[in-house]
């Protein structure tokens, strides 16, 4: 197995995530796309661990998962907040401040 199989998959996921992040209007969908990106990083880390025989990547991945969870929680809280104030979670409408 080539390490690049995993890495390339990670790259593809990353880019799909990026696309999602940029294209999606719905805040929840954006959060989902972010998860794709974070997963691609985890794949990378674990692939490298496997390649290099190290464990640090595993630890790193665990940290990322935990942080991601926290982030999602915070993110959703904010989504709820704007939803309550604006009755919409369309991100592009959030442009009260600009210029």
């Amino acid at each position: 197995m080539l390490v690049n199989q995993f890495l390339m998959l990670g790259a593809v996921l990353f880019c799909i995530g990026v696309y999602g992040v940029l294209a999606r209007k719905n805040a929840v969908m954006v959060l989902m796309s972010i998860e794709l990106i974070l997963n691609s990083v985890n794949i990378n880390l674990l692939a490298f661990d496997r390649l290099n025989g190290s464990i640090d990547g595993n630890v790193f991945a665990l940290f990322i998962i935990a942080v991601a969870a926290a982030e999602v929680g915070v993110g959703l809280a904010m989504v709820l907040l704007i939803y309550r104030n604006r009755k919409s979670i369309a991100l592009d409408e959030l442009s009260e401040m600009k210029g």
Partner: protein
């Protein structure tokens, strides 16, 4: 199984070295508990306690600094308390304290959740304090999130204000994007170096000729560039600064930015110090763009906070400037000192400016620059202090800012390269452009009549007065006797960290 459990070696912990973090963590819990048990009308006490916690955490920093001695390296060199770390820890804690001073009235009168607010603030400061010492990828990442996640929420703290919401969401989303990019970069660096320790990464990456290394370096820098709001990763900053509660803005523009630079410096100096062909051009472009774009946009602003937001973007450019030549010639040392000194001076100055804004906007109830008209007539003290802070930001001697800029220029000139001189000239011109918008505020205060003919004096709450006084003294002192602060810059030496 058991054997392996027993094989686990309890790490040696230098509790003195970790004392600031421990004090902060304990204080954080204390505030949380207080918040639970203190009646609503006494919630202000949480702020007071938070302030004391921050000051308390400063004590061990001070003792560590005074004792000096060898670098304290913990956890196999993953967490290092050197002078660089101590200088910045001190900065974070004091900045945090000033922010607490600024917040107390704002939070109390706004009816916000004070206790939780201070918990988040302390958490964020704790993250920063950790950032200053983190010397491996995981610590850096965690510290970054540690300081960011509470900050995202603080930005949105004025819950019923849609602008505040917007500020929080934008900050959050872009922050997450940036940390995603950062993480990917880190994963590549880790893959190449087989280690998370920055020093080992530095050794493994070498001059960074591998494409993967380049990609990793660029992505890592992008992650921090977001944090320090370098153009073009600055887009969140104006919106967030404008929308967030002003004390939070002050916190973000000073402490959070400083933390970003701390991480960036650690990465540059430890994780890829030899890959100067990669990071130097990138930093160069970032610095030039940041200074210029920040300034040009600031020129157009009518809202003072937004203007200061762009100003702080552009100030970030000046701090980046030395890093653009950090690998050339003998510039490494001066560049590091320049960054640290700049951060210290900038912190005092910018916090002071925000403090005055808070004081003034309590009366004017407006963020527009035009509402500052005639301030000199009805509140000369505030006007003079604001003038001092703005002039310091503009870099006019004998106010602190000049020394900050001096250091930055000196570092780039020290590099002795054409690139260095070029960016020095760009910086010099930008310093002038920047003056243009600082001066519009001064003009408003000194030369225009009050928009509504106001004549009565402004009542400034005492914590804000203390904050303004602290910042003012700092700004002046660092300008007149820069040696006092430059000593910290001198101490800011990361080189010990190379070894372990």
């Amino acid at each position: 199984m058991l054997a392996s459990l027993l094989a686990f070696a309890r790490p040696d912990v230098d509790y003195h070295a970790l004392a600031p973090e421990i004090v902060l963590a304990a204080g954080l819990c204390l505030v949380l508990l207080l918040d639970l048990f203190v009646p609503d009308h006494r919630r202000w006490i949480t702020g007071t306690v938070a302030g004391f916690v921050l000051l308390g955490a400063f004590i061990p920093v001070a003792t560590l600094a005074v004792i000096g001695g060898d670098v304290r390296s913990l956890f196999d060199g993953r967490y290092v308390i050197d002078e660089f770390a101590l200088a910045l820890k001190g900065l974070f804690l004091l900045a945090g304290y000033v922010v607490v001073l600024l917040s107390s009235n704002e939070m109390e009168e706004g009816g916000y959740h004070q206790g939780e607010y201070y918990v988040l603030l302390l958490t964020s400061v704790l993250g920063m304090v950790m950032m200053a010492s983190s010397r491996d990828l995981i610590s850096v990442f965690v510290a970054l999130e540690f300081l960011s996640i509470p900050a995202y929420m603080m930005a949105a703290w004025r819950k019923r204000d849609t602008k505040s919401n917007e500020a929080g969401v934008k900050y959050y989303l872009l922050g997450v994007f940036a940390s995603a990019v950062l993480l990917y970069g880190m994963s590549l660096l880790f893959g190449l170096a087989k280690s998370t320790k920055l020093s080992e990464i530095g050794a493994a990456i070498g001059d960074g000729s591998k494409a993967a290394a380049v990609l990793g370096i660029v992505f890592v820098i992008v992650g921090f560039a977001f944090k320090v709001s370098a153009v073009p990763f600055h887009t969140w900053a104006p919106d967030t600064y404008q929308g967030a509660p002003t004390p939070v803005t002050a916190f973000l523009s000073v402490a959070s930015k400083a933390a970003g630079f701390t991480g960036l410096v650690a990465m540059v100096y430890l994780a890829f110090p030899m890959a100067k062909d990669v990071y130097q051009p990138f930093m160069w472009v970032l610095a030039a763009l940041t200074m210029t774009v920040g300034n040009l946009l600031a020129l157009k602003q009518t809202n003072i906070v937004r203007m200061l937001a762009y100003s702080s973007v552009s100030q970030g450019g000046f701090i980046l400037m030395p890093l653009a030549v950090a690998g050339t010639g003998d510039a490494a040392g001066p560049a590091l000192k320049a960054v640290v000194v700049y951060l210290l001076i900038y912190a005092a100055t910018n916090l002071g400016a925000f403090a005055v804004i808070i004081a003034v906007s309590r009366t004017t109830r407006s963020g527009e620059i035009s509402s500052w008209g005639g301030l000199f007539n009805y509140a000369p003290g505030l006007a003079v202090m604001m003038t001092i802070f703005l002039a310091s930001l503009a870099g006019i001697p004998p106010l602190g800012g000049w020394y900050a800029k001096f250091g930055a220029f000196r570092a780039v000139v020290d590099a002795g390269s054409g690139w260095g001189y070029t960016i020095a000239v760009i910086g010099a011109i930008n310093a002038v452009v920047a003056t243009a918008y600082y001066i519009t505020v001064m003009r408003e205060m000194w030369m225009k009549p009050a928009p509504d003919g106001r004549v009565s004096a402004v009542k400034v709450p005492s914590p804000v007065v203390v904050a303004i006084a602290l910042c003012g003294i700092g700004t002046l002192l660092m300008g007149v006797l820069p040696g006092s602060v430059a000593r910290f810059g001198d101490l800011a030496d990361l080189t010990h960290a190379f070894g372990g």
